[in-house]
Symmetry: C2
Subunit: 324 residues, 2 copies
C-alpha cells in the first residue's frame, strides 16, 4: 500500500484496508465510495452518535506517537463516548486533514486496528490537505437494548456507589516517561505498559454495556481526569461526592502502577469508565460473569448539600480545559 | 453570547444556539451535554451517514468568508452528500478545532442557520484548541423511503439523460471576484449572487429527494467540478458520456451568469446535483410539481465504449485533487 498519492487513490487504499479489517457490511449496505454511506444498525430504536477530534500538538505529539498510534487513539477516544453510554459502536467515519507527505495510510492502519478491536466498521469519511494534522472520527451504534435506558451522566442518586473500571494516571505517566525522547528508557514492564496506555488507550465498551445491563445509574469516561469527569457526573446528576482514592503508593488500587496520585486525579486520557450504581455487589458480579476486571470502588454519591469531598478534603476542580 | 471562553461555557452557548435553531428533539432523545447523543430517525430502515472537512486555507479563506460563512458552508457541504443520495438529513454533529481567539460562537451561528435551512438538528460535537481552523460536520438521516432504493453514483445506464439542478461556476466566479480584497466591488446583483454562491452554498436536498422519487438512476453533487464529478458518476456506473454544455456566453443555461465555461466545468463547490434518468419528462414534471427550478439538460449517458465526450471533444479529467 502506498499511502502517499492523490486523494482518490488514497481513499481506495484506505477503503480496502477497512474492508479487510471488518466482517463486511450487511446486505444492501453501502460503504466507502459514494456520496454517503448507508448502514443497517444491529437493532431497532434510537441511534447513538459521538464525534471526537485529535489535533496534533494538543491531543497527540508526533514525536511520541506513531501515525498508527494517532489513528488508533482517534477511533478509541470516540467509541469510548459510546461505551460511556452503555452502547457499542457499529460503524464509524474517519476524516483526516494532513500535511503533505504525512503517511495517512499508516494512520488508517491504526484506525482499522482499533475499529477491529472495538467491533465496528469504518464506512466513510473525508480527506483534505492541511498544514496541521487533525483527525476526526464519528461513531454510531444502536442506542437501545430493549431493556434499560441509556447510561447517561445524569442518573446517579445520593447513596450510589462509585467505581472506576481500572487504575488511572497511566496515560499521563506514560507521556511523562516518553518525554521529549519519544521512547521509554530500558524496557521494564511497567514503563512499557504506561507508554502503551498513552499511545494506545483502550475504550471500555464492554464494561459500559455490562454496567448498563447490571442496573448502573450513571457513567462517564475519564478523558479530562478523574477530578474533572466525576465532577461532570455529579453536576449532571445533582449529587454530592465522597471519594476515597487513597495516597497513591504503588499497588494502591486506583492509581496505576508507576503513576502518581496527581496523574490519576488530573491526568486524563485514561478512558476508564466511572460508574455509579445502587447495587455494588450486582455490578461486581456482572463484571465477574463477563470476565471483566473487577471494578475499583472510589466512594459514594451523597446529597448535593454535602458538597464534593476527596479523601476528606474539598475536591479540587482540576481537569484540562481548552481555551479559545 | 460570548463565544470566546473556556471549552465548557462555549459548549453551553453553542448548545443553546442549536436548540433555538431546531424544532427540538423527539421525546426521549438526547442532544448536546452527555458523552454521546441518542436520536430517533424519522423512519425505519438504514441510516445514511456523511462527513466533510472544511480546512482554513484549503476550503475557506478567512479573508473572503466570515466565521458565520465557514459554519454555514461546513454544514451545507456535508448535507449536500445526503441530498446526492436522495436523502434528507435529520441530525448533525459539529467539531471545531480553532486557534485561540477565533470566534467559534459566530461559526456556530452559521452552522445553526444552515442546519435550520437544511431541516436538521445539531445534537453533538467536539471542540479543541488548534493552530489552524478545521471544521468537521457529520450528518445523518433516514436512508430508506420505503419505495425506491438509494440514489447512488452507480445506477446510470446508457441512454439515460443527464441534468444539473442549476447553473454552474458561480462559486469559482465568486471567489475570483472576491479575490484578495475579500469583497466584491460595487453592489451589482450578479456580483453579489456570485459572492453569495461562494460564501453560502445551498445544498440541493429537496432536488435529490424529488429526483429519487421520480425514478432517477444516479446522482452526484458538484463539489470537485462538473468534469470531475460527472466522470466519477460515469466510472461508478460503467457508462460513457456525451455532454453538451455550450460555449458559456452569458445567459447560456448551464453556465452561471458572470461565470466562465472553465469555471462551470472545473471550478467545483457549486453543490448543484448531476442527475441521470431514463425519463427526462418525468423528472421535469416532478421538479415542476415540487416548485423546484427546472433541471438543465447537459447530455446523455452512452455505452462505455463510446468514451467521454464534451461538446464533441474528449472530456478533460479536470477537477481538484488534494495531494498528500
Amino acid at each position: 500500500m502506498t499511502p502517499e498519492g492523490d486523494e482518490f487513490s488514497l481513499i481506495e487504499a484506505l477503503a480496502a484496508r477497512f474492508r479487510a479489517a471488518s466482517g463486511g457490511l450487511a446486505a444492501g449496505d453501502l460503504g466507502i465510495g459514494d456520496d454517503a454511506a448507508a448502514v443497517t444498525l444491529p437493532g431497532p430504536g434510537r441511534v447513538v452518535l459521538a464525534t471526537d477530534l485529535v489535533v496534533e500538538g494538543v491531543h497527540v505529539d508526533l514525536a511520541v506517537s506513531t501515525p498508527e498510534d494517532v489513528g488508533w487513539k482517534a477511533l478509541m477516544v470516540t467509541v469510548s463516548d459510546l461505551g460511556a453510554m452503555g452502547c457499542a459502536p457499529s460503524h464509524a467515519l474517519l476524516s483526516v486533514a494532513a500535511p503533505s507527505g504525512f503517511p495517512v495510510g499508516r494512520l488508517g492502519d491504526g484506525v482499522a486496528q482499533a475499529a477491529e478491536a472495538a467491533g465496528c466498521t469504518v464506512v466513510g469519511g473525508d480527506l483534505s490537505s492541511s498544514t496541521l494534522l487533525v483527525v476526526s472520527v464519528t461513531a454510531v451504534g444502536p442506542a437501545d437494548d430493549g431493556r434499560v435506558g441509556l447510561l447517561t451522566r445524569a442518573g446517579a442518586r445520593p447513596g450510589d456507589h462509585l467505581f472506576v473500571t481500572g487504575p488511572l494516571g497511566a496515560s499521563a505517566a506514560g507521556l511523562r516517561l516518553l518525554g521529549a525522547s519519544g521512547r521509554v528508557d530500558g524496557s521494564d514492564r511497567v514503563s512499557e505498559a504506561l507508554a502503551s496506555a498513552h499511545r494506545r488507550p483502550v475504550a471500555r465498551i464492554r464494561e459500559g454495556v455490562v454496567a448498563r445491563e447490571a442496573g448502573a445509574t450513571a457513567c462517564i469516561d475519564v478523558s479530562d481526569g478523574l477530578a474533572a469527569d466525576v465532577t461532570h457526573l455529579a453536576d449532571a446528576s445533582g449529587v454530592g461526592l465522597d471519594l476515597t482514592v487513597g495516597g497513591g503508593a504503588e499497588g494502591d488500587g486506583m492509581v496505576a502502577e508507576g503513576a502518581t496520585r496527581d496523574e490519576a486525579l488530573g491526568g486524563g486520557e485514561d478512558y476508564e469508565l466511572v460508574v455509579a450504581t445502587p447495587d455494588p455487589d450486582g455490578l461486581r458480579a456482572a463484571f465477574s460473569r463477563a470476565g471483566l476486571r473487577a471494578p475499583l470502588a472510589i466512594g459514594r454519591c451523597t446529597d448535593r448539600s454535602a458538597g464534593r469531598v476527596l479523601d476528606g478534603e474539598p475536591l479540587p476542580p482540576g481537569g484540562w480545559r481548552h481555551r479559545f
